[in-house]
Symmetry: C2
Subunit: 446 residues, 2 copies
Amino acid sequence: MNSAYLDDFLTFLRFPSVSTDPEQKHHVAACAEWVSAKLRHSGLQVEVHATGGHPIVVGRNEHRPGRRTVMIYGHYDVQPADPLELWEAPPFEPRVVNNIVFARGATDNKGQILAHILGIGETMREEGELPVNLIVLVEGEEEIGSEHLEQFLTTHREELRCDLIAVSDTGMVGQGHPTFTYGLRGIAALELKVTGAATDLHSGIYGGAVANPAMALARLLSCLHDSEGRIAVPGFYNGIPPLESWEREAWAKLPFGDEEILAVTGAPELFGEAGYTSLERTWARPTAEVNGIGGGFQGVGTKTVLPREAFAKLTFRLVPGQNPEVVMAKVRVHLLAHCPPGVKLEMTGGHAGEPYVTNPNSPDGVAAQRALKRAFPGKEVALIREGGSIPIVNTFKRILGVETLLLGLALPDCRAHAPNENFPLENFEAGIRLNRALLQELARLT
Amino acid sequence: MNSAYLDDFLTFLRFPSVSTDPEQKHHVAACAEWVSAKLRHSGLQVEVHATGGHPIVVGRNEHRPGRRTVMIYGHYDVQPADPLELWEAPPFEPRVVNNIVFARGATDNKGQILAHILGIGETMREEGELPVNLIVLVEGEEEIGSEHLEQFLTTHREELRCDLIAVSDTGMVGQGHPTFTYGLRGIAALELKVTGAATDLHSGIYGGAVANPAMALARLLSCLHDSEGRIAVPGFYNGIPPLESWEREAWAKLPFGDEEILAVTGAPELFGEAGYTSLERTWARPTAEVNGIGGGFQGVGTKTVLPREAFAKLTFRLVPGQNPEVVMAKVRVHLLAHCPPGVKLEMTGGHAGEPYVTNPNSPDGVAAQRALKRAFPGKEVALIREGGSIPIVNTFKRILGVETLLLGLALPDCRAHAPNENFPLENFEAGIRLNRALLQELARLT
């Protein structure tokens, strides 16, 4: 490992660039400045753009006609570190143990975006120029919903025009196993509030004559699935293309499946939609989940109250072929139709994001796979989707009109968003190789 | 109104005899002493018995062979007064407004037990003796589960031997409408805990492959009822005798029913077990209620978590013919049989109390009805059951082997256990008349 690279990585990790914390605002700004200096040092021209929130750093080489334009996107902000007591060492004092770097942001996303920046610098030093017109966009609000990015993309659409975008912020199926993510689930949030009497009531005096909102809520939630784990909302699955056989076959061969999910989650057994494997259920099938439920007495022991209200916070994960608005309208109709007597049901929509899928065997997809093979020599590339949602990918498509290649380097046990986040130096080095190979492979398609 | 009686009432109410609050322990003790002095002043011999908690005060006249022995039971402790900000005046500074006394404990139970004590004093002063052998037992832990009463009854069983017990701590169907309560529901508590993965999971990464405990809990709760409000546990209703036609007819004529329940509760509409009226549902039919439910994210907005666990606190109200142990065993079997895959269900039983019913047309019941008519001249006596549970009534039956007459004076809007608790002076005076008439009517049965 080039010791200057490691020094850069550790320096980057020492900034407590927690975007959600107003107290860290100056650290976030200092981190943006550090990134801009690093990009400049790699040979790019850099601008730091102020926003209503944290700065957006944009670097670019000298663009020349006739070359493809590639944008690399990443973020320098990190999740909060709490609960602090579960960290084995302070989260912003990075440690290297057995060639693994432990610190908040190690995987998400400082290790991955820095590998790209260092790869660019290597190419510039060795070749004097890059094989493509490059834009590097590093924002500071990814962990808080990229609040100011959409406006920025719109305002600067002309300067940001490109042929495709590459992002390293997704996962690998296992150590050393290069992974190309070609699909993400969308999301739609819905909060249910069921109200009954004007106040909590004595369950002895009124129980039996006045409907119980918590019981009514339970009936509503239970009407969302059938007994085999399928979503029971009429038309919910409309428009979803069947999984292709190559996907099912490829996923079945991956070194990650039921056994690993059971081990990682500690669930007593796995359960989901009938007819699909766990990977198919999480990557390619929609879900309806309760994220939180509450109502009535929350203390220790018993309080014989008939609660006045109960709530459930739901999110639905959606897959390609589903439109969040259309699907959520069906869900609302279904819930209203199943609302038990004696209570009122209020539904409040929340954030929504479209699902995403790109063709992994498009010319760019094939180029990306070749680059991944060069970064991890001798290994087959896993073609996967992921169950999470990255709304910015659809924002890129809508505003800039281009596809995004998801070439992530996060391992299943990287602990992103959790205590003891970590990133192996092996992946950091592979990321530098990946950047160099990717720009070369994409340049070939000119 | 005898002004000395009113003075006594207001003095009694000024003791903040909140049994659950260790800081008020000396006030509770002082209140017990005041009650003992009052009983002594009424002409009884009195003992104040220390317990592991608050004292039990027992007064008795000179018992003579050949007379019936009657115990009057009540309590001098009160519920906490909070939320204080909802009181229109300080809860322990009683005020008389439009002949209604406002203070914590006015109805529950100080006004009602003091009326008995003053009635006894009147008879003693006017007649020189009581028509029965009397025991007055006033405890200080009713509002915290009568923790030390059962042991006391067992230890003192011989001295407390009696033919029946009278209690004024239940409700009236309306102002001026004398009410005899001949049945109470029982209760059984059960807490459900549904667990899935070892920690909260990302609902994008794992949602679909790992069961959601909150969703599983909803399915479990919804299997407790059918769509018409009947409890769906096999055998749940076994052994419950049908309502008698005189009960259904009498209750249908009461000046309290659906309209009043809607007005008091503010529920959007009433709903309960098909085939029964609201009064039948609350007084004579069992229920399964969620008192509290919780799990996962409880904050504002969205957190896309798949909760590791969810809980529901249930209480079942039971009616005569049902045995709590037998019924709860059926409930557990039913829930276990319906537990969805992928989660673990733990069930923890809580307190339980038998239902109670006595024959209102027994000789003692008829005597009580005559006494109620004399206390409220010109009015018919309402024969009702109540939906709540008073476990001490079954304790009396088990240890002392006698029935309890429930001759309550609480109005539907008395706000017992709530801010602005109140008791009309009219009911206080009726209570004094009731005591005198009751002892005379019961004495006639000798």
